[in-house]
């Protein structure tokens, strides 16, 4: 503030800009505050989940491998999320390909059908699954979780793949066909490499969403195959120490690393923009 007094008009604009920045900063703080508190608690030496910390320790992290529930939940989550991701990639990419490249009847209806799970509350899907799978004796299995997660992650894969397809030049595929490639070879050698960023982005999102999902897992497989989020829920029901906060930090770091690595390799942001 060493410059001479600014003109009144300019001052008012600066005031507005400053207010805007403050609001943005506060909004971020509001959104991130819970995360920050979880991170702080993970390192806190308090015996129970509480704030503020009386001292700092790494013992909650050291205890994690001893928590059989967490480890088992992690295994279930990794298996179901991987399976759901692989299956949803096959279904989602095929669906997107059909919607974008072929004259399928009822294209608009199909496209909204594939994107609709985004609009239906997860709890409704979960309830529906229990009502269908229960009588068939299929609850509390890996398959039941995978099935539910396929449903909720499909829209993401279809979306990201459709976006990649929309920006790619179909004449490359035609050129390959003219050069002697059959439909499958065209897909493997030309289409897939070109839309790879969108497919990978969809896969990463599907994996994270599935890995993170609690409601469906809770409904369809709580007793038989509890996933990690379900185990976390159970844990906080019965215990009140900071191990769960330490686990949360591990998961945050894990997700962030996945996103950063993919972003570095593929330009995730570009494919989502």
């Amino acid at each position: 503030m060493t410059a001479s007094a600014p003109a009144p008009f300019k001052k008012r604009v600066d005031g507005g800009a400053m207010a805007f920045r403050v609001i943005v900063a506060l909004s971020y703080l509001f959104l991130l505050a819970p995360l920050l508190i979880v991170v702080v608690i993970a390192f806190s030496s308090n015996q129970y989940l509480s704030f503020p910390p009386e001292g700092f320790t790494l013992r909650w992290f050291a205890e994690l491998p001893q928590q059989a529930g967490f480890m088992q939940g992690l295994q279930t989550s990794l298996i179901t999320a991987s399976a759901a991701t692989l299956i949803v990639l096959v279904i989602g990419v095929s669906a997107a390909l059909a919607l974008d490249r072929y004259d399928v009847p009822g294209k608009a209806a199909l496209s909204s059908f594939f994107l609709s799970p985004l609009l239906v509350p997860t709890i409704v899907i979960a309830l529906g699954l229990v009502l269908v799978l229960g009588p068939l004796g299929l609850t509390n299995t890996y398959e039941s979780i995978v099935l539910g997660h396929i449903g909720i992650t499909l829209p993401y894969v279809v979306r990201t793949t459709l976006m990649s397809l929309a920006t790619s030049d179909t004449s490359c595929e035609e050129a390959a066909r003219v050069l002697g490639a059959n439909a499958f070879t065209v897909f493997r050698r030309v289409t897939l490499p070109i839309i790879r960023p969108g497919v990978i982005a969809g896969g990463v999102i599907a994996f994270i969403v599935s890995f993170d999902e609690a409601v469906i897992s809770l409904f369809v497989a709580e007793s038989g195959r509890p996933t990690l989020p379900v185990q976390i829920l159970r844990y906080v029901e019965y215990s009140a120490d900071a191990a769960v906060a330490a686990l949360s930090v591990v998961l945050i770091v894990f997700s962030a690393v996945v996103v950063v690595v993919v972003e570095r390799l593929m330009g995730l942001k570009r494919t989502l923009a």
């Binding site: 004449s171 490359c172 003219v178 050069l179 002697g180 490639a181 070109i194």
Partner: protein, 367 residues
């Protein structure tokens, strides 16, 4: 005797029922080794025709015959065509060598043979040194050459080019014209070349098919198309043209190439001479005179058609006149040999040798 390579037999494409066909009962025969230009304004059905030949699109009716074999139902990847797309359509994730090798891989050519063929093809288009570049690291002209090498390396049954020069700047376009033509001659690849640029077609093609509204208006050599257009559309589309209606009177002789020389009567202007097909006496026809074939003298002179100069344009090499003859505004172009530039409003007399005016065989179309 040359062999017929490609026959289109009443080839038709109607995109939707009720819509006028985009390509309408097209008949054409292409000789082995020829470069044939499909020439016409935008939307006349050139690309549609080419894509049907490639197999990228099914015809509504008609047949495509190559080397005497009906390939209408053969799927695209079994036709063995080579195609260069307007956008080049290079595979962005492969380097230049891999792009060119793609068709050879599909044909299961041995690896070592592939390397050799790719090298030869890239040398042919003078890109041997860029084999490991990716398409986005190449200029438009270089991409164009890669696309050409990729199409030719498989020794295609037919080479199909869809406006391959339209994305290049004017200077490069000229160079690539010559280059494509010389490569095409060397490889002997029978070629269909789509263009809307008449200069390109006249310069490069052995035969030109002038298309209009899904129909072929005329199929012939560049000289035929230019000198002996069959329709007003062709005369107007190719080169600059004076076109006016005249009554064809009695035949008065025979031209140097056996055409009939007619006396023609241009209503309200006078009489002159023109050549044309036999049997046009007593009909109403359109007459074509190219601007640079008109001779012009200043003042009213006997034995010609006299009019008034309405406009003069001087471009250094050439002098252009617009001369008003009754209802007709005749465009005339002369070399600036004698240095005098006439003024607007002066009288001038035009005349032409009978062989420089052509009576179109097409009947005058009702307006």
């Amino acid at each position: 005797m040359t062999a017929v390579k490609l026959t289109l037999d009443r080839l038709t494409k109607q995109y939707r029922a009720g819509l006028a066909p985009a390509v309408d009962r097209l008949d054409m025969e292409v000789e082995e080794g020829h470069l044939v230009a499909l020439l016409g304004p935008s939307g006349c059905g050139k690309t549609t025709t080419l894509r049907m030949v490639a197999g990228l699109m099914d015809p509504t009716a008609g047949r495509i015959v190559v080397d005497g074999r009906d390939i209408t139902a053969t799927p695209v990847h079994e036709r063995g065509m080579g195609m260069v797309f307007q956008s080049y359509a290079l595979f962005p994730h492969m380097d230049v060598a891999a792009n060119v090798a793609f068709g050879l891989q599909m044909r299961r050519v041995a690896k070592s043979k592939q390397t050799e063929l790719v090298r030869n093809a890239l040398d042919m288009v003078k890109l041997g040194h860029l084999a490991s570049r990716h398409p986005k690291e190449l200029s438009g002209g270089q991409q164009q050459r890669v696309a050409l090498a990729r199409a030719l390396v498989v020794e295609p049954t037919l080479l199909l080019l869809d406006e391959p020069l339209s994305n290049l700047d004017a200077k490069l376009r000229e160079t690539m014209r010559t280059e494509i033509r010389s490569i095409q001659r060397r490889t002997g690849a029978t070629t269909l070349f789509v263009t809307h640029d008449q200069d390109e077609a006249l310069d490069m093609a052995d035969r030109i098919a002038v298309m209009n509204g899904g129909l072929i208006e005329q199929f012939g050599t560049p000289a035929d198309i230019y000198e002996r257009p069959r329709t007003r559309f062709v005369a107007d589309f190719i080169g600059r043209a004076n076109l006016f209606e005249a009554s064809v009177a009695a035949a008065s002789g025979t031209g140097s190439k056996g055409e009939t020389v007619y006396r023609i009567d241009v209503p309200g202007i006078g009489t002159s001479e023109a050549i044309g097909e036999a049997g046009l006496e007593g009909s109403q026809r359109t007459v074509l005179v190219r601007p640079h074939r008109v001779q012009v003298e200043l003042g009213a002179q006997p034995g010609g058609l006299t009019g008034t100069i309405e406009n003069v344009s001087y471009t250094g090499d050439a002098l252009g006149y617009s001369i008003r003859l009754g209802d007709v505004l005749l465009q005339v172009e002369r070399h600036t040999a004698d240095g005098t530039i006439p003024a607007r409003g002066e009288q001038a007399t035009v005349r032409w040798a009978a062989e420089d005016a052509y009576v179109l065989p097409e009947e005058v179309r009702a307006p």
